[in-house]
Symmetry: C2
Subunit: 196 residues, 2 copies
């Protein structure tokens, strides 16, 4: 995860050539756009064309459709993690539900991307392990604070809650208000209440 900010090849011995790096970024950007517009099934050749590179170049950088999607996925996750850090100060319950609301809103704008991406979840791929770790580091403290403050039920795991929220975000409906409503219902179930 952290490596993606510094350019992915830093981990390798030799640095990439300048043109290679440029193309890498270009493809990534174009792909993000293209997938958002035309859905995850957009032809890779179309993406290559739009990026002004040959299909061979695309494939050298991203050996498969999957690889390209994963690279995008990493960016998405990063952005979500970042947004958690701005909520440190607020009321514990507010902070948590605010984060989830942002998460939902964020996923909504990227429905095609994020939604489809998550279907690729090969749950044991190291990439996703890494992402889960990052998400955990970003969001779990928010949950813990809520639990410590007694406003969140204690018998839930962070990842469970994440899954729930993401599941809700992916609900196919044209009305975003409905999703928010469903989220509110679900979060109500998360609140701690004396009678258990």
């Amino acid at each position: 995860m952290s490596t993606a900010q510094v350019a992915p090849e830093t981990r390798l011995a030799r640095p990439k050539r300048a043109d290679a790096r440029r193309n890498y970024e270009k493809i990534l950007n174009v792909a993000r756009e293209a997938f958002a517009e035309g859905g995850e099934s957009t032809a890779l050749e179309e993406i290559a064309r739009r990026a002004g590179v040959g299909i061979g170049t695309l494939y050298r950088h991203f050996p498969s459709r999957q690889a390209l999607l994963e690279a995008l996925y990493v960016n998405e996750v990063e952005e979500v993690c970042r947004s958690a850090q701005q909520l440190d100060g607020a009321d514990p319950w507010e902070a948590l539900s605010e984060w989830f609301e942002r998460l939902i809103g964020y996923l909504a704008t990227k429905r095609a991307l994020a939604g489809e991406l998550l279907n690729y979840l090969d749950l044991d791929a190291p990439l996703f392990q890494e992402c889960r770790t990052s998400l955990y580091a970003a969001g779990a403290p928010l949950l813990k604070r809520g639990q410590d403050a007694g406003v969140v039920r204690p018998d839930v795991e962070f990842l469970e809650v994440m899954h729930m929220v993401v599941g809700i975000a992916k609900i196919p409906t044209t009305d975003p208000g409905q999703i928010e409503h469903i989220l509110r219902i679900a979060l109500d179930g998360l609140r701690y209440r004396a009678e258990g």
Copy 2:
């Protein structure tokens, strides 16, 4: 929906020929299996081959991959609807949550199928309208009973709740216990409580 039980062609003027009907069923059965095994992306030619028919035949019965998936979808929905009717007698809250639990369990066994199917939700397709109507007829009474009995919060719509539950069912995890747990959290949010 109702037509699908009586053989789908009843709605047309002339009845299908016997061989046609046989092939129709054969393809449907093989497709269900194949999709369950190999995921939704199984080649249609593979399915035709397994069913012992030509690809042309498959395409006459199901003019597109989508059409085939939809035909399967209808069956799934029917089964779920049927299961709602066995719960008429029980305690209102029990009946509702039991239905959802069954629904989840059912979807779990058909993850590949049901999960992928729902991604095809073209929300305005008449087929889905019809399915929604059926689901509504089957499940809404359960919800209403709960609301009338004061055990379910009154500010929720049936379809919202359905979406929520299905969203949870689709969560990608290898541990089914986790899904059940998440469902329980979400249903807790559905319960009515005095303080609102």
